[in-house]
Amino acid sequence: MVKVKLKKKGEEEAQATPSSGEGKEILDMIAGLNRLMKKVESIRGIDLEFDEIILEGVMPPYELLSKLLSAAPPAVGAPAPAAAAEVAEAPKPAIKLEEFKLTPPIETHPGAFAEVVLGATRDEGGTRAFTLKIGGNNTPPYYRFEGGLPHRPVIAHIVFDEDPGLSKLLREQYGDVVEDPAAWAKKLVDVYGAKAITLDLNSTDPKGTNRSAEEAAQTLREVLDAVDVPVGIVVRSGNMAKDVEVVEACAKEAKGENLFITSTSLVLPTWVGVELDDEVLQYYDIAKEYGHTIVSYQPMNAQGLAWLNKTAINKEIPTSKIMTDPGMVGVGYGTELVVTTMDTVVNKALIGDENFQPPIIAAPCNAWLNREAWNKFEEWGSEIERGTSFECATAAAALASGAHMLVMLNQRAIEMTEALLDKIYLTKLTDTRSVMRHLPKNDCKKCGYNTCQEMAEALLKGEAEVEKCEQMTPAGIRTLKRLLNPEGVKPDPAEIANWVVEV
């Protein structure tokens, strides 16, 4: 035997799903009745108090029908149908929502990263048009519930002093300037809007071209003359004595410019308490004498980094003149070890250990050392896209782990990163190039301007509306509008509520 149950709103539903035969017919019929009732409900605008009719067991159609009829829709304004009480089981108590209030698990951090300034203006003894500040955070990266994000990370665009064997994608960007580091640097600033440059002096390797320290200093001079943004150098001759020579010649040449100087050959794997080589100590003395910022370099070795920093601090170099380089490698090649190193550095810095407080510089451009970034291999898809996706992935790992400065190579990856940083730091866009990062760059003229560049200029002057661009999604339009006028922007759940249906 069988009964029919009228399911009340919010009540739990019973199981009964005959899939064939008589049961199936009945089910179909009920479904039809359900629809009918809904219809009545919508036409009359009344609440039937029943969501749907559910069948339990199997029952001859006529009997079913009579039961159903007894539960016919009441007249407008009538109380809940009495028939329901006869057929339905006693309603279960409504399920209660647990009450919960999350107290943000805020921790207080006694320490903070040091603030480091890159470059020096004329007033400060250099010739740079501006300086940049990094570091200074007293919370782990992007823990907004604990505090703010003081300075947006800076991207240094890398220039090589001799062709490192650029891949196809990079050749498209730098092919015309690869023989001339000064022209390369100028292109980075003028065309790509670089805010900092780092010059890689790889030609000083005695096993390679073996350029002299003087030649290296001359190249640096040309770069400093070609651009007015903060500049750094990377010395990696692979030979300690040569590195010191190069560092000294460059430091002298750029006296007062506050270069950031990385030397990768000076420091072999080191640990707390290890006596450092004379060359390292000389490097510190040189940097200090000529007013530059040093970069402690130890791949994936937090304790080694702290030891180098400590040695520098003992030489009275303040933490505001030191940076920490944990030796970034491309994803898949030990990135997680660098991430772990950075975790340690961040934790210790925030506890208040001075030796870990110099801000972190990481080089996602190292992703290009791995074949995935350039190898032509059909099963891996377009190598052009891979070159960008691998460098971006590496940069993402560095940023999420708390890098304060990135060294990058490929303009497409750099643009992606800057656009992301615009959003994370809610940076007000004030120049055409930054606005362009958020426009489609199709030059389709549909907005009434001849190029996206013209549109960008008009937007900055307040003469155009972002909505006029026909190549953007609503989210894209919202993004650009907010970045042009960030005051009062607040996250809004509506931004994503439609993901399920809209993508």
Binding site: T17, I95, L102, G334, V339, R371, W380, G476, P493, V501
Partner: protein, 472 residues
């Protein structure tokens, strides 16, 4: 405050104290240590009494729930985290990567896309990486349409399925089709949770709880579901990718993790998911959107997010995310070296080329990957270099003539191989003179610099080398 990492001494008290070695450890204490660092499992000790086993299991249970969905051997599991940062122990709840399809696609396109997603893969270090799950979105809002789509997808692939709709009627239609296959319902919200709870109970599903920017509600719903017996829960605090809101998303991920592993807040002690697919709402240009999605995905993986739904099944985007994920979720204690041995690739015979390399996991992984990919028939002698790469090991003296000779003797190379030609990596050029001296009967030659060039090198050189040897 929850314990950061558990105490081996406490576990030790519950072990049989027999030091019999059956668990693979030399002593019970070593076993206790390994249990705490989660490099072994408690069932490895056959002598444990049931009660002690249960106690140890309770004691070691991580603060974050471990959850699963899907069925059969494609079932996926995640969660079980116990630390904020990898440096404290390890991350365990490897990010499940899902791609989406939707119910307004034509059947033909649907099947094609499902197949594209299911077959997107690459091999690295002898492991094949595939997509873990498939998400089906109800764009039409029509339960029947959704039901049919789910049916089609389930007929096409056995990947675990995530049913995406905020309308319980739609979710129910999908869940019905997947009865017994334990889909993940996406999602329960403040508006629909009651109905979703009913469906989850009836069809025994896992549930994602979606409460953008409202973490109190997230915890409320999770606690309610847990009370009602639904424990396979995953939290979505909302994936925002627009100015400022993206910062909130990054912050909330860390906040939830800390509330779970440090503050022990039960209500939010579940794995966390994000939807990088929202990136596609920001750009009309598909490539731009895919790159943005890739960026978000890698930020989230670094932060230890446990499940992500992506939209662009492009191998060039899938690869870096998986590369990073495999690293971030690798147990640091299990970063072992490769066992030294004479490895055979692609059925070599006694006249196949012989090469030598280091036992650094990464070096071996890359070299072996290339040999497999280009189907190079050869022998590879892996020597113990203290897990250093070849160039570093040359510098440290671990990749030296004596060491190579020792390994050749240990693995009986001279009787397994008839020719007397040994190819060494080009980066080890400086050991060539001493190696030639140590192996007077052998012709030692420099191979290519990068292992991806081995195949070409051998095609061009091997016959020549053999002929020269024959002539001599």
């Amino acid at each position: 405050m929850a314990e950061k990492v558990k105490s081996p001494a406490e576990v030790m008290k519950l072990l049989p104290q027999e030091d019999c070695g059956e668990c693979g450890c030399d002593s019970c204490f070593e076993f206790a240590l390994k249990l705490v660092e989660r490099t072994t499992t408690v069932d490895k000790c056959p002598k444990l009494k049931k009660s002690a086993l249960k106690k140890i299991k309770n004691m070691l249970a991580p603060p974050m729930a471990e959850i699963s969905f899907g069925s059969g051997d494609k079932m996926v599991t995640t969660g079980g985290e116990e630390v904020m940062h990898r440096e404290e122990l390890a991350f365990f709840g490897k990010t499940i990567i899902a791609y989406d399809v939707w119910d307004t696609m034509s059947e033909e396109r649907l099947v094609e896309r499902v197949n594209d997603i299911a077959s997107m893969s690459f091999v690295r270090f002898k492991v094949q990486y595939n997509v873990d799950a498939i998400a089906i979105r109800s764009v039409s809002g029509d339960p029947t349409k959704f039901k049919n789509t789910v049916k089609k997808v389930a007929d096409t692939t056995d990947l675990p399925i995530i049913l995406c709709s905020l309308d319980p009627k739609v979710l129910k239609a999908g869940a019905k089709v997947l009865k017994g296959k334990k889909p993940l319902l996406y999602a329960a919200t403040k508006d629909n949770w009651e109905k979703v709870l009913e469906i989850a109970k009836e069809y025994e599903t896992a549930v994602a709880i979606f409460s953008p920017l409202d973490l109190d509600m997230l915890g409320s719903i999770a606690a309610t579901f847990a009370r009602e017996g639904i424990n396979d829960l995953i939290l979505d605090p909302g994936t925002f990718c627009e100015p400022d809101s993206i910062t909130e998303t990054l912050s909330n991920i860390s906040l939830l993790r800390r509330a779970c592993v440090k503050a022990g807040v039960k209500e939010v002690s579940y794995p966390v998911m994000t939807v990088p697919a929202v990136a596609s709402m920001s750009f009309k240009n598909k490539k731009m959107a895919a790159h943005y999605e890739n960026y978000l995905a890698n930020l989230f993986v670094t932060k230890g997010v446990n499940l992500m739904i992506l939209h662009f099944p492009e191998i060039w985007e899938f690869m870096p995310v998986v590369y990073l994920r495999e690293g971030i979720f690798k147990h640091p204690k299990l970063e072992s070296a490769i066992d030294p041995d004479l490895y055979a690739f692609n059925d070599p015979d006694e006249m196949s080329p012989l090469m030598v390399t280091s036992n650094y996991t990464l070096t071996y992984g890359i070299v072996s990957g290339d040999l497999d990919r280009y189907r190079v028939k050869c022998w590879m002698l892996v020597i113990d270099t203290n897990a250093l790469s070849v160039d570093t090991a040359v510098g440290s003296g671990d990749f030296c003539a004596d060491n190579i000779v020792e390994h050749m003797e240990e693995f009986d190379v001279e009787s397994k191989i008839k020719h007397r030609i040994l190819i060494i990596p080009r980066v080890a050029a400086e050991i060539l003179p001493e190696l030639r001296e140590a192996l007077p009967d052998w012709k030692v030659v420099l191979g290519p610099k990068d292992s991806s060039e081995i195949a070409t090198f051998l095609t061009e050189e091997w016959e020549k080398l053999l002929a020269e040897e024959g002539a001599a």
